[in-house]
């Protein structure tokens, strides 16, 4: 293990480390802590210049109610779910198929296709912006959650294919071989042998795609204009313009907008990290 396990260090270092941990964490999360405290601060505190002191009263309930009552943030959150959930289902489903094809079959253009997907997921969004916006407009999907879903599914399929393909490559190929010898059809091999083994990969990808798409801001501003389809990231930014100097509301709104992916992360932490670190240990 590196660095040397702390148990082997002197008593002094051990105690120092245990004190340093919470201090470092506090400094690291300072912006977040500041926002969390501000979100429960009464409006009067800000007017009186009490930005960083102890809140004079707990106004969490008022602030968070005000955010939901006076702004369409509840609506924005709903839109975010309407974009995120179908995207997760679509992108994961498509990439199970593509990943399987690229991992299991040998054909000439296999690697070329694989790297096309990989490269596609690194490109700058801006190169897609004008044509995708134009296409969405012409299809009558501009300003709808559906327009966002279709794009996100297509784009996330790149990353998801990379992930699924590498995951399936790691499965024992003998299983598939013996099924083929038995005369099992390719579709049944996929459906009944490989798919059940892909559960951890599906879980990991679902959380990742959920977070990526929930946090997307660029496409939400490019493909959506009105309130009725706007996801919470773009919505929050437009609210920020209305709530000038009402930092207690901006903070409460930020916390609300950040909550779903944070909850997702804490529920599915192991899968989330396994997904992100794919390829970080071997290769």
């Amino acid at each position: 293990m590196f660095p040397t396990p702390i148990e082997k260090a002197s008593r002094f270092v051990q105690v120092g480390y245990k004190i340093l941990l919470p201090v470092a964490l506090f400094l690291w999360l300072l912006p977040l802590i500041g926002v969390a405290i501000t979100s429960v601060r009464p409006a009067g505190d800000l007017a009186a210049g009490n930005y960083f002191g102890i809140p004079s009263a707990f106004a969490g309930v008022e602030n968070y109610t005000a955010v939901f009552r006076d702004s369409p943030i509840g609506w924005y959150i709903l839109n975010s779910f309407k974009v995120t959930i179908p995207t997760v289902i679509g992108a994961v489903a498509l990439s199970c198929l593509t990943g399987f094809a690229l991992a299991v079959y040998k054909f000439k253009s296999n690697l070329v296709l694989f790297f096309l997907f990989v490269a596609g997921n690194f490109i700058p969004f801006q190169i897609l912006m004008v044509p995708v916006r134009d296409m969405t407009l012409r299809a009558g999907l501009y300003d709808t959650t559906m327009g966002l879903v279709l794009f996100h599914v297509a784009f996330q399929t790149g990353f998801c294919t990379l992930f699924m393909r590498n995951f399936i490559k790691g499965l024992p190929f003998a299983l598939i071989e013996s099924a083929r010898v038995e005369g099992v059809s390719e579709w049944r091999i996929f459906r009944h042998i490989v798919l059940p083994l892909m559960r951890p990969a599906i879980a990991a990808l679902s959380v990742l795609v959920f977070t990526f798409v929930w946090n997307d801001y660029f496409w939400a501003t490019v493909l959506v204009q009105g309130q009725h389809a706007m996801p919470v990231t773009a919505g929050l930014y437009s609210l920020n313009g209305q709530w000038v100097a009402a930092w207690h509301l901006v903070s409460a709104g930020s916390i609300v907008a950040a909550l779903p992916p944070v909850a997702m992360f804490f529920l599915m932490q192991r899968h989330f990290i396994a997904g992100l670190t794919l390829g970080a240990t071997k290769g």
Partner: protein, 308 residues
């Protein structure tokens, strides 16, 4: 030649062709839906953008062919050079998240009570939307009451309003970006450290290696894959930087925090007019810069693939 027809296919003639060619056809059937989406929404638009970049177009009317006109104009545009320079600053400074992430990972790679919770809380910034991160830091930097301006006032007697100051604005935004990015690199390194070969470390310790020497000679080489992934995501992330610039300054003050990705958006889709062709030309430049890095990464991954 009727004898040549196999008994099976005479029973179910339609399945004969399928049976024989299943292995060749199946991959394409599996690939079809995903590829179709990918081609429509990713591949084709790249070429369309390149095509549009040779036109003068407001997004609605006729596209007027102007050849390299947009590119020529770009070369005369001061904002373009500011954006290019800022992208370079982003690229260089963003790479700091790699050593910072390694340091954080080394710091947290201990087994004490509650360390798992610490690790996940340190990772927190990455899970949060960049819009929220941007708002948090805007508030942090806010003149008069922001913690940072208070701090600078206390230290220097003079307030620095980072986001309103042309000298500091880009650096201020990059610091906000380094926050989640460092968390990401930290997680990559924590996973890497988890898979270090303990025997090698012990052997090196027997030989008297320790501290920085051990890190440099034994640990870092084993962290190679983690470093590679960290490089890929950091370089791409720095060139893609859009959300923070948009939320924190919208490129200002006076375009001083402009980056190519935001510049493109501003030209093509904002009150400055719908200059789709010009925007597309900026996007093509950004794309070409990215392609340099993407091809380097792909070549390396391809080599790994061949060795596997």
């Amino acid at each position: 030649m009727s004898n040549a027809v196999s008994p099976q296919s005479s029973v179910r003639p339609s399945s004969g062709f399928w049976k024989k060619n299943q292995q060749t056809l199946a991959p394409w059937l599996f690939l079809a839906p995903g590829m179709l989406m990918f081609v429509i929404y990713v591949l084709v638009p790249i070429f369309q953008s390149i095509w549009i970049s040779f036109h003068d177009w407001d997004g609605l009317g006729e596209q007027v062919w102007i050849g390299f006109g947009n590119y020529a104009e770009l070369l005369d545009d001061d904002t373009f050079y500011v954006a290019l320079k800022n992208n370079l600053i982003w690229l260089v400074l963003y790479l700091l998240s790699i050593p910072a992430g390694l340091a954080a990972a080394l710091f947290l790679n201990q087994t004490v009570a509650g360390i798992r919770l610490y690790k996940s809380l340190f990772f927190f910034p990455f899970v949060i939307s960049q819009v929220v991160v941007g708002l948090m830091f805007t508030w942090f930097y806010a003149p008069d009451f922001g913690l940072f301006s208070k701090l600078t006032e206390w230290l220097t007697g003079e307030q620095i309003a980072v986001l309103a100051d042309e000298r500091f604005v880009t650096y201020g935004i990059i610091v906000a970006g380094l926050w989640p990015q460092t968390a990401y690199c930290m997680i990559l390194y924590l996973t890497g450290l988890n898979n270090i070969n303990p025997e090698q470390v012990e052997a090196a310790r027997m030989d008297g290696a320790k501290g920085f020497k051990l890190l440099w000679n034994i640990i870092l080489p084993q962290l190679g894959p983690a470093t590679f992934i960290a490089m890929v995501v950091t370089v791409i992330g720095s060139l893609r930087s859009f959300d923070l610039v948009s939320v924190m300054t919208a490129g200002g003050p006076y375009g001083s925090s402009q980056v190519l990705s935001y510049f493109m958006y501003e030209q093509a889709l904002s009150e400055y007019g719908f200059r789709m062709g010009y925007g597309a030309a900026i996007a093509v430049v950004l794309f070409l810069i990215m392609m340099v890095f993407i091809s380097l990464f792909i070549v390396r991954m391809l080599r790994q693939e061949r060795n596997a």
